[in-house]
Symmetry: C2
Subunit: 802 residues, 2 copies
């Protein structure tokens, strides 16, 4: 992602199979580029064949024939004609040694990227580089990862050497599809001419239809047993296929790759202007977008990083730096990223469902991906212990509209005699100030009107000002809002630890709990006396209100609120009581804050809950609304008009369901991984026992930044880190967080420190602020190494501005 | 899709490459099955190798050795060791003949499926069949389609023969991924043991992690030059690897495939009950779902057909019929299907974007798939000539909420002085009765309340009863509603032709146009006098209101309504006038009704329009709201709160955008295809000139059914066919359409007629009704042969009930 240069064109060469002429044709490309007056670099990070016969023979011995220097090098050498991962072991066995662990993919890719950048830096003239991969597209790399997966972080444009032999059509197309599944830009397919099998005759129109250039090259001569005769014959062959006139030489490929390179640069350069002219961005005031420089071009993404163009004028640039640079996705792309960008397992899950079903009709029908998802969520997921049904829709906002329709209907059915038709339109929601449930009007109407509103937004309900949890100056505080502070015992509390705050059951008998209950009861009574809205549902974002400013609500308050609203449940009944309770777990659910769902911590379950975002691993929209049996039964009848009349055309689209199933299955591994266990241990209680809450962020880092003078408060749970900046103008209208931290955007690297971005280049950070709050979010599988490096960046930025 | 039998287990065998031992291992599977007491069938639809050395040698000569009969047969024979598609040509060339066109994929697959069904029917005992494909997974079939694509309609469970040689890890995994992209169920990977390359040691954990069984088999002996020695050595080898005791034989594979078969049957049988217990379906009254038999299990889908389980009790069944049968998707899966289910190009587009980006943050950033989509829609799509910006959201309903927010804001900005804060919440929509814009509350509030409504639904606006177009008794009528008939000249009209009705420009000067204008003007004046809602936007589903009952609105009425509302546009201004006009083209847009957008036919463009459904080719949700410059500018400012504050986490998800781009590019071909041109010609005006409207349905069929006594009215445009049934209880509450046509659900085939379903089995139809209206919808690329067969089925059903 950091290896695209204006003056230095790099292509990687993949083979559709072993023995398809990859080294030979790469060598020919190298020679042809040299003959066209370019400096050429030939990088073969791992050699799997006998080196003298391959690289040196094909390249170095002919270097003198050309005007320009050809640089050929191998980064790692394993001499057996087997897969690199096996060569590591065989070599050790032969030498009677223990197996030396091969370099990790990260180390390997960093060393390749560094080599590329070093050569680019040293090249003042136009230069080409060809990087030859080992074996076929899925041959194992040193570490055992497949070539296509191992090289993916570099995201180099690709030449695929096709297979001209019997069966070669199949292996060429399959290899192409495997590359495509990793998103590679494939600039050309080259293969030998073969009059008998005529694979090229088939592949040319095939790839042309897919916009890919195919070129055939004359086959090499038979290998001769006499060395000098073979040398002469090979030399003649190379001369022929690299000459400018050769119809079936590699020259046209070199020219084509040049054109691809130029077009790509032009395209990247044109994108900000074109986007600025044709796109209407969500939640963006276009009047504040001052021009192209304010537009981020995302060329690709991998793991926790975008690959973005740096903001200079590409065509005018004379820099030898990469035009692309990594950028840490510090908002987890609006809270969606779960497994990092472009996770191959999710791509394959999407592909599998698309290949089997496309999309199919859902009402009264069933397909495996949807069934498995429903069963998993209801029986073994957030619905465990209370939910009976899963209703699938398209995103968090629609999932919440479904939840609201469920709750309001359940309420009106029970109140049938007391409720008028007109009242049904104005039923109220009970919730907390700062709530957010999505941008469709129904979801908006369940929240207060605030700075951000729109014409039809008509807030229906009553919202409490909640007490909050935060870390100030190294100490954990519960901050009680002014409206509550008149109640006895309702004062700000300095807590022993986060663990104490979130031990809800233990706190139920405290005086603060009684104060909460009294405050809630009185407020509701007063609302009724004033003739306030007829409340029909309690709607909460449990523990953490995201869009409202990363507000960590005192869990005790939410528990007491639920208990108060529900009153005393009638003995054995599992039916909802008081008001139906909706948990909007779109943001907090499925381990974003370190727990699958919030019910177990709060000690109470909802009647309805909604999951989205993490649900599909950060790949595409889907939401599930879970409901208890008593909610479901409110819609049962013999009249269709009494049914839940909500459905989207793509309801339960198989791709989304299959990706969700794959995500949930990967989450099972992540949530029990060593990294998670280690993080949980770092947040253990003072006595060493397990805390009910924890974070992937380091507790010492949290404490340290909470003590900085410009920091008002810090808080963290799971993947989320929230930093509130001191500012007179607090809330949304503040720009303090953006102003203070904006240098994080810029790529930077301390001298001598290693970058944790794939490919090891300096990187900046994308992050979002909510007024005076800056928040940072990791994926669920972000490595501790990356998180530590992000913590360093934040620390340096905050302390440099002190 | 019609080849799954309880007693007759069929597996297809794909090769990871040529020369990986596919024939040999298939033969071994055949022999091992026979040895386990099963009838065995070995079907090799195309032979690419010398037959005596392959099939006969490996199979037939050993038949006598086993207790059970082994049936081996080839359907087509081409003897050259090249790809089948090439063999066709080479054979012709050798014999000096013209190339005989090979069988089409459809014919080929039908013949294979028939053979399978025939053998299944004739087998009373448990039997196995192995179908061996040719070459590698993407080797071209006879027609030139690749094996993996060609066999996809059969959707047979699969055994992949892996490659044990150097490079074989790569080719095995790539082949697996190509099969996965087509959705195949892969039950096992088999490959030879190889101590040197150890591919199996790599592939076993690799596939195990993906839930796939890998088994290794001892390698075959060297081929001996002496025939009888070779025979003996091969015989011994087969005996060894098929014996029950052999650790590295094929026996464990046979046992595993039996288990897979049993599990699949059990799973299919369990699905209705499990779905009935865990899923809450959209728009379904669960009280009317009487049990498992009312649940359709969709096992896979292909082209215009689902593959569903027939409703019998699978475990108790003693039938020799297929457990799966094709079902025509007559609602195009709630109007989404565009290119048929599981179109490989869309799968690959989705995979490509997923591999390159996953999902990435969209506010103020840009990626290629979103940029190309925005530019295409704004400049060369439905926005051509009027739109300036594309706003991307998740589905039709959210796209309409965005459109409404745009229109209402544009209106209030212009009315700033005259409008109160409270009025903004109650601004009204002008529209037509029967409108539908989606199921989120905002979209619902833009429509009347009717039978289908919900608690918060609060219809805001005024809706005209529109005149409609339909074909009755062979004649085209414009039916004027009662509210209009008091106006002079506003009577029902018998039109010359559909072409005349839709020639809007020509009709503007008619007396009916004047009557419409007068009616509209008076109604609006009266509304204002009554103090009706303050109207802020005109919202129309142009030409056809779908969910409202497939109401074909007289286009002249919509044109006059728009003109009236807009008044006289000020000269050169492109700013909106009167009220912002929204076209909801979610259903009708992008060629569903035979035109890309409706503006050109109506002769007026909207200020805002919405596309979804067809946009993503029927694969997954995405919507685009287009807006004119003057609408966009209403949100410009230097305050974020004035921006369009709408965004979903997955806004502009790259998969959706890339799939949309691929769809639009395929639509360019379909809309100029011979099939479309032929259909357009069949709907030419009486004078032979082109009609502004046309249909994929046959005009003679339309005329014929419009004359049936139980049919009240018929109408068609593009892919849509609507049949209104005579019934005293009209509208939604009627069940007449469902009752009359429900036998279409059942699989049926007239004696001697050919089925157009993939695989040629008898099929029933899924279709949906809207009260007294039954509608049928094709994909945009449904073949005329399929449509003719559907017309036949509808005709027979309607006439059999006369």
């Amino acid at each position: 992602m950091s290896t695209l240069f204006k003056h230095f064109r790099v292509h990687q060469v993949f083979g559709a199979n072993t023995n398809v002429g990859k080294t030979l044709l790469t060598t020919a490309l190298v020679r042809a580029s040299a003959q066209r007056g370019k400096d050429v670099f030939y990088l073969k990070p791992v050699s799997t064949g006998p080196l003298e016969d391959a690289d040196d023979y094909h390249v170095n011995r002919y270097t003198a024939n050309f005007k320009k220097l050809i640089h050929a090098e191998c980064l790692f050498r394993y001499d057996e004609p087997v897969s690199p991962h096996l060569a590591v072991r065989m070599k050790a066995n032969l030498e009677g040694q223990d197996v030396v662990p091969p370099p990790s993919d990260g180390t390997f890719i960093d060393s390749v990227a560094n080599r590329i950048r070093t050569h680019a830096k040293s090249s003042l003239n136009l230069a080409h580089m060809y990087l030859e991969t080992a074996g076929g597209v899925h041959s194992p790399a040193l570490s055992g990862t497949s070539q296509a997966d191992c090289y993916r972080p570099l995201f180099l444009p690709t030449v695929l050497i096709g297979d001209s032999k019997l069966g070669g059509i199949s292996s060429t197309i399959s290899s192409y599809e495997s590359l495509l599944l990793r998103g590679y830009i494939i600039d050309a397919v080259i293969l030998f001419r073969d009059e008998y099998y005529q694979n090229a005759e088939y592949l040319k129109p095939y790839f042309s239809e897919r916009g890919i250039f195919v070129h055939t090259v004359d086959s090499p001569p038979e290998r001769l047993s006499d060395f000098s005769e073979n040398f002469a014959s090979t030399d003649k062959y190379y001369a022929a296929i690299t000459s400018v006139e050769a119809e079936h030489g590699v020259g046209p490929v070199v020219d084509h790759l040049d054109i691809c390179h130029t077009k790509r640069l032009e395209e990247l350069e044109s994108m900000p202007r074109r986007a600025y002219d044709s796109i209407w961005w969500p939640f963006v005031q276009h009047g504040l977008v001052k021009g192209e420089k304010d537009v981020t071009v995302i060329d690709s993404a991998y793991s926790d990083f975008f690959s973005i163009t740096n903001k200079g004028n590409i065509s005018a640039s004379s820099s030898t730096d990469s035009i692309l640079e990594p950028q840490y996705d510090g908002s987890a792309s609006w809270w969606t990223q779960t497994l990092g960008h472009a996770h191959p397992s999710l791509t394959l899950a999407a592909a599998k469902a698309s290949g089997r079903y496309g999309h199919v009709m859902f009402p009264q029908s069933v397909h495996l991906p949807a069934l498995k998802l429903a069963e998993r969520l209801v029986n073994d997921g957030p619905g465990k212990g209370w939910a009976s049904r899963a209703f699938i829709s398209d995103n968090g906002s629609t999932g919440m509209e479904v939840a609201l329709k469920m709750a309001l209907r359940a309420f009106t059915i029970r109140q049938q005699k007391d409720i008028k038709e007109e009242e049904k339109k104005e039923l109220g929601i009970l919730g907390l100030k700062g709530s957010y449930h999505g941008d469709t009007i129904g979801a908006m109407d369940a929240c207060e009107e605030g700075v951000y509103t729109c014409e039809w937004h008509n807030a229906k309900g009553y919202w409490f000002d909640p007490p909050t949890v935060g870390i100030k100056d190294g100490e954990v505080y519960i901050t009680v809002p002014g409206t509550l502070s008149s109640f006895p015992q309702a004062n700000d509390i300095r807590a022993d630890s986060l663990a104490w705050v979130y031990d809800v059951e233990n706190r139920l008998q405290t005086s603060l709990a009684r104060a909460y209950a009294m405050y809630i009861t009185r407020a509701l009574e007063s609302l009724e006396q004033r003739g306030g809205p007829k409340l029909a549902a309690l709607v909460l974002e449990p523990l953490l209100m995201g869009a409202g400013g990363m507000v960590f609500v005192d869990p005790l308050f939410q528990r007491v609120l639920i208990d108060t609203v529900r009153g005393r449940r009638s003995g054995s009944s599992s039916s909802w009581s008081g008001l139906p309770v909706i948990f909007d777990e779109v943001f907090v659910g499925l381990n974003r804050i370190g727990m699958e769902s919030t019910g177990p911590l709060l000690g109470v379950y909802p009647d309805i809950s909604v999951n989205a975002k993490v649900l599909t691993g950060g790949l595409l929209p889907l939401a599930v609304t879970l409901a208890s049996k008593s909610i479901f039964e409110a819609f049962l009848g013999d009249n269709k008009a009494e049914a839940l009349l909500h459905g989207h055309s793509y309801t339960a689209h198989p791709i989304g369901c299959e990706v969700a199933n794959e995500t949930l299955s990967i989450l099972d591994k992540i949530t029990t991984s060593d990294e998670w266990v280690a993080a949980q241990e770092s947040w253990a209680k003072p006595d060493g026992t397990k805390s009910p809450v924890w974070s992937l962020w380091d507790p010492n880092f949290i404490t340290a930044i909470s003590k900085l003078p410009q920091v008002k408060e810090v808080m963290t749970l799971g993947c989320v880190l929230s930093i509130k900046i001191k500012d007179d103008a607090s809330g949304y209208t503040s720009h303090s967080a953006q102003t203070l931290l904006q240098s994080l955007n810029l790529a930077s690297q301390e001298d001598g420190s290693l970058s944790t971005a794939p490919g090891g280049a300096a990187f900046g950070m994308h992050f979002r602020t909510l007024g005076d709050v800056a928040y940072f979010m990791t994926s669920l599988n972000t490595s501790s190494a990356v998180i530590r490096s992000i913590e360093d960046k934040i620390w340096k930025t905050l302390t440099s501005t002190t």
